[in-house]
């Protein structure tokens, strides 16, 4: 479903991503792990077509995100970091806008909005302005826009960041229910999340993939058998650089 080929991104002389390649198949949930500033968000932004790569590309269902961005983007659902949503719109108004841009019209458009509202349990706030919503609801509104068109590839940048334990549980449940017919990538620095939802994980450090495998395989890489020890041994000692802008 997704094939990433030698993605590279330079910001001036700083190499944020240094040639990353991987594939994600339907039914897989790939966890993207790494310290802050490792290049997780940059990689996701290139895969989803927000940032043009310095070199390399990503194929989504065979469509090149650099050469033919529109058909590629049509297959992607993306939940950016911090779940941005237009604050002055109502939940239903916002989802209706996204459905329109995704090319739905008439009854199908209304049906898509309804099912996204239902799937993300937004019925209670349907006609409320986004700016009046709590963080957990905002996150779900943005999640709803990402799954509205039933995308084959779902990319989520820290989907549970800043949520309370109940909300985290809800988001993970939603991810798992959709997993079978989609390819999913989630970035996180919550290690328990990888064990809870991912079928495969990749640890990124300083713009490179430093480890890859199922959560079980990764854990076996350290005598303690704990994922946080593996993570620390692979990524520690590197100065924290932030590329968040």
């Amino acid at each position: 479903m997704l094939e990433v080929r030698q993605l590279r991104k330079n910001y001036g002389s700083f190499e944020a991503v240094k040639g990353i390649s991987f594939t994600v198949k339907q039914g897989e949930i790939l966890g993207f792990l790494g310290p802050n500033g490792a290049g997780k968000s940059t990689t996701m932004r290139m895969v989803t077509g927000f940032l043009p790569p310095t070199s390399g590309t990503a194929l989504i269902g065979g469509h090149d995100i650099v050469e033919t961005p529109i058909p590629a983007k049509a297959l992607i659902g993306y939940l950016p970091e911090n779940a941005p949503v237009y604050p002055e719109m109502t939940v239903a108004g916002f989802l209706d806008f996204v459905a329109g841009v995704r090319g739905y019209c008439g009854a199908e458009r209304a049906r898509r909005v309804d099912s996204a509202v239902e799937c993300c349990r937004l019925g209670a706030v349907r006609h409320q302005m986004v700016e009046t919503l709590s963080k957990g609801y905002k996150q779900r509104v943005c999640f709803a826009q990402a799954v509205l068109h039933d995308p084959s590839l779902l990319v989520m940048d820290e989907p549970t960041d800043g949520l309370d334990p109940n909300q985290k549980h809800l988001v993970r449940d939603m991810i798992k229910t959709m997993a079978a017919e989609k390819a999913i990538i989630i970035s996180t620095h919550i290690l328990e999340e990888v064990e809870a939802v991912c079928t495969r994980a990749m640890i990124i450090n300083e713009g490179r993939i430093v480890a890859e495998g199922t959560p079980v395989e990764l854990k076996a890489r350290h005598p303690s058998g704990r994922l946080d020890e593996v993570f620390r041994s692979l990524t520690q000692g590197t100065a924290e650089k932030t590329t968040k802008r």
Partner: protein
Amino acid sequence: MMNAFTGNMFEIFKREFRAYFASPVAYVFLVFYLMLIGFLTFFVSRFYEANQADLKYFFFWFPWVNLLLVPAATMRLWTEERRTGTLELLMTLPVTLPQALVGKFLAAWLFMMIGVLLTLPVVFTTIYLGSPDAGAVIGGYAGAILLSGAYVAVGTLTSAMTRNQVISFVIAFVICLFLALAGWPPVMEIVNKWAPGWLVNGIASLSVMPHFESLQRGVIDVRDVIYYVSVMALALFGAHLVLENRKSS
């Protein structure tokens, strides 16, 4: 049936246009716009004392009122997308940058057109009092709408350049002020002192004013329309370049 380009452009346009009216700011803005035009026409230009049912003084003020208010109406367009992070959402939807740019530009332009057309009661009053030349009225409004379109395009460009609304406002104001004053004799005298003749003429020909005045005479000249359309196209093209480069740096 709309094709894919206009379809998505229309969705962006609709969203942006509705965003103006999502808060009371739009109404405050429109009331202020009308009060300012009315005040300048009736009190500063002394419309009644001129004793002529003529709209010359009314149209005279449009470039100056728009100079102040168009940058305020456009400063939000791209700065807010960037500040709130929705730019990332918008640019990962299956939308092209030209669709988003033109959609937003048209929404802001239509909003300004509402302001311009809400001044029509002044025209009705004048028609009641006398008989202004219909051609001049239509030409004057066409000029005011085209002029606001050119300013809106400049404002779209400056809002793409920064994530700060105030900076967008100030830069748009300065560029529009330049477009209004280029060719004005006191300004041209300063330029004349040091610039070669071709440059002086070049600067003077950038001015919006001669085009606005010639439309007011009731003659819709293709050259004036081409001038305004070129300013819009150039500013939007600039905004496209800025947004493309911002993304990659």
